[in-house]
Structure formats: C-alpha cells, structure tokens
Amino acid sequence: MSVLERLAQLLVSRFGISADELRDDVTFAELDLDSLSLVEFAMVAEKEFGVPVGEDELSPQDTLAAAVALIGARVVNA
C-alpha cells in the first residue's frame, strides 16, 4: 500500500473523514482537522509509519499531498 493509501485509510477509520473528500489538494482545515486535531493526527501517523512526525510540522492549511510528501520522504529514508 502507498503512503497516500495508508494515510487515507487512517483519516477514514480514525478521524471519520469520508473517502470521497480525500483529494490531493484538500486541506486539513477543509477536513475539520484544526491544529489541535493535527497533534493527534501526527501522533497516530508516527505510530502507523514508524517515523517521527513533529506536531508542528503540519498546519491546517497544508494539503493531503503535502502530508504524503513529508511522511513519504521519511519512510523512504527510514
């Protein structure tokens, strides 16, 4: 499974986002994930991928594609 697919699955199962909302350019704010929720998201993603995800590395204005890029780069290098 790709990083995108795994992240999408996480957003659906853990955060109740519907799959059809998950476009590359959708922002976390548009998914109702504010900065507080993103701290939780970073913690869950860190566990899922086994790479560090800092709680200040993602902002509500970031897109799903940006999160995929951030985590993807670390998964490759890990």
Partner: protein, 409 residues
C-alpha cells in the same frame, strides 16, 4: 401560581437512558417497570459487576465519527439528547437568535473514561502518547460548550455540578435565566457516562452500591425493605425551556411548565444525608414557595429514591412532613439505575411526561415496602392519574439538595 410571560415553558424533551435511545424508547421502558440492570462485561472480576448501560449506543453511527472521535462518551450521550430535544421543540437553530439561547447542563464526573484511557497511555508509553484532546474531552464544562457549538447557542453557557443533583440544579438554574429575561430559550439537562472500573470500585468501597451480584435485575429496589444500595447507570436528559411568551408567539406545543425551584445544603456529612431530612425538607418547601403552591396542590412526587438504605428513608420522612396529603410517589431508578449527574434531568423529563399523559410509572422491584417508609409509592404497573402539579427531587453527595416543581401547561 403565576402563568405569565416570564414562565419557563418546557417545549422539547430528549432522553438517552438505559431504557433506550430517544424519548419513546426510554419512556416505554420506564413505564414497563422492568429493571435494566445487567452484568457488565467491562466490570468482569470486580466485586460489583453490573450496571445500567444505554443499550446499542453507537456514537459513530449517531453523530458521525468525524464529530464523535474528539468527544467523551458523556458528551456523546448529551449531544444525542440535546438534538432530540431541540427537534422536538420545533425550534430551528439555523433561524434562532443564538445570542438569546443559553445552555445549562448538569454533570458530576466529566470525561472520566477519557482520563483513565489517557492515564493508561501515559503509564505505558510516556507523555508523547497522551492525546491532544485529553483536556477538551474530559472537562466537566465541555458538555455545555459542545452543545452550543452543535446548535449555535451563543447565550450564557455553563455546567452545574452538585453530584447526583446536578441535572436538577441545571434545570433550576436554566429557569432563572428565563425568568430574569437573560434568555428566550435554554437547553437544560444533565449527562453522565462514568461506568468505568475505577469509578465503580470507588462507589463499591464506599458501600454505596447494591451487592446483589447474583440478581442484578432485582438490585435497584427503591423504598423496598430489602434494598441495599444503588445501581450505577449512564444517560442524558435534556429539556428545552422557553420563555412562555416566546413559545406562545411561535405557537409552540407547551408540554409543561417549570414553576418552582428550591435548593439547600445539609451541612452535615460528605456522603450521608442528614437523617432528620431537614435539608431535603427545606429544598422542597423552598421550591413550593417559589412556585406559590401549597403542598396539598401537589399530586405527584418523582422521588430521588436511589435504593440506598439511608436516602430512601430520609427522603420519605421529609416528603411525609411536607405533604400530609400523600401524593403518589415513584422512583424510576428501579428501572434506570442511578445516572448521577444525569438522573435529575432524566427524571424531570419523565415528570413532564407524567403530567402530560396523566401516567405515573411504577417503581420497579417494590415487593415489600419498608415499614419505615410511609409513602403512597406507585408499584407494579403505571398509575393513571390527572396531575396538575408535580415535584421532582434530587439529592447529591456533599448534602446538595435540589427540587423542581413542574405544572401542567
């Protein structure tokens, strides 16, 4: 008794109880008079391993996971009840003036389930494993905040916490907001979801819970000679209170009125009621005085009736002294168990239904009434009776007493 424009009309009801989700399911179970207490898998191996839980409550399904994941169960229960109550009132949150809508909710324990889960995460994996949602999920105030967010209520917003009287205190406080003209509408009630192993262990260690582990369905037996403690429960009850002229202007269905509220403290002991019942009596008399009602005008008392040895006899003494005319008394806790901060709100909603339908639900498991309790307790089956005025009692640890007087529309 006044019936003016400043009266608090009850125009909506919402219930989530061990009897079921929604007013019809809850009320039918309460009228049926069979206990909902059952062995609780989450408490396996504990000295008291039964509770009254809301059956089949799936927050993801009822609220959507997108909303539910960031809320504690006690807020889940409250939101479902609040949405039902608002829909029942016919008010449309998209159209109301939110600045005139308040929220007052009762709660005793806050998000204890969340706190315990996160404490376990902390012990297991350290501080980095603690959820950023811990504080907003566990706060005892958050239930009122989240109801406001859900429906756009921008008026006064607070949580009252008087232990097992919290829901009653909330409705009494909400009525003040209506009467003083601060709000046109107040979403008022109580919610509790504290059926966790530590909480149940604590109540067990206090000796407050029934120990009837072989017969959970017979454990909650208010006013019965063989009662030995309460059965812990969860739930939520919400009433929409509305200024009478506001309700009339939109031709709302007024289901009943909240006409009096009294509150007192025993100033006696942390957990035991003052055996004289003086504090309880004072709260009842204060509520009657507030309503401008004579004791003989009260047809029905929805009792606190927890099924603990001390509460029921103390409450009975006070009720006897205030009401020599022997109004019909019931305790729904035989069916629902005791949902602490939600109980008073659930019982106020049931009192509204009793007034509206002329039906008093029976007290479950009342096989042999305690000879020291000289009350006319409704048992076995519902009693059909016209009710003009009823009182609803709630008493909390800390000696905190709260009483509502409700009247027919």
């Amino acid at each position: 008794m006044s019936n003016g424009r400043w009266d608090a009309a009850v125009t909506g009801l919402g219930l989530v109880t061990p009897g079921g989700i929604g007013v019809p399911a809850s009320w039918n179970a309460i009228l049926a008079g069979a206990s909902t207490a059952a062995s609780d898998p989450e408490l396996a191996g504990m000295p008291v391993d039964f509770t009254c839980r809301v059956p089949g409550f799936d927050a993801d399904e009822l609220l959507g996971r997108r909303v539910a994941w960031r809320l504690d169960r006690y807020v889940h229960l409250a939101l479902v009840a609040a949405r039902e109550a608002i829909a029942d009132s016919g008010l449309d949150p998209r159209e109301w003036d939110g600045s005139r809508v308040g929220v007052v909710m009762g709660n005793a324990l806050g998000g204890v389930r969340t706190f315990e889960e996160q404490h376990c995460a902390l012990l297991r994996e350290g501080a980095k494993a603690v959820s950023s949602m811990l504080i907003p999920m566990m706060g005892v105030n958050m239930v009122a905040g989240y109801i406001a967010i859900d429906c756009g209520a921008r008026g006064p917003n607070l949580v009252t916490t008087t232990a097992c009287a919290s829901g009653t205190t909330a409705i009494g406080t909400a009525r003040e907001l209506i009467r003083t003209g601060r709000c046109d509408v107040v979403i008022a009630g109580g919610a509790e979801a504290g059926l966790t192993r530590p909480i149940l262990a604590g109540f067990t260690r206090m000796g407050a819970l029934s120990r009837r582990i072989r017969e959970p369905a017979l454990a909650s037996r208010p006013f019965d000679r063989d009662r030995d403690g309460f059965v812990a429960a969860e739930g939520a009850g919400v009433l929409v209170l509305e200024r009478m002229d506001h309700a009339n202007a939109r031709r709302a269905r007024v289901r009943a009125r909240v006409v009096g509220y009294g509150a007192s403290a025993d100033a006696h002991h942390a957990t035991a009621p003052d055996p004289s019942g003086a504090g309880v009596e004072k709260a009842i008399r204060m509520a009657l005085h507030d309503a401008g009602i004579e004791p003989r005008e009260v047809d029905h008392v929805n009792a606190h009736g927890t099924s603990t040895p001390l509460n029921d006899v103390t409450e009975a003494r006070a009720v006897c002294r205030v009401f020599p005319g022997r109004p019909a008394v019931t305790s729904i806790k035989g069916v629902t168990g005791h949902s602490l901060g939600a109980a008073g709100a659930i019982e106020a909603a049931c009192t509204v239904l009793s007034i509206e339908q002329g039906t008093i639900p029976p007290t479950a498991n009342l096989d042999r009434q305690d000879p020291d309790i000289d009350l006319d307790v409704v048992s076995n089956r519902p009693r059909a009776q016209r009710i003009s005025v009823a009182a609803s009692n709630s008493f909390g640890f800390g000696g905190q007493n709260a009483v509502l007087v409700l009247a027919a529309a």
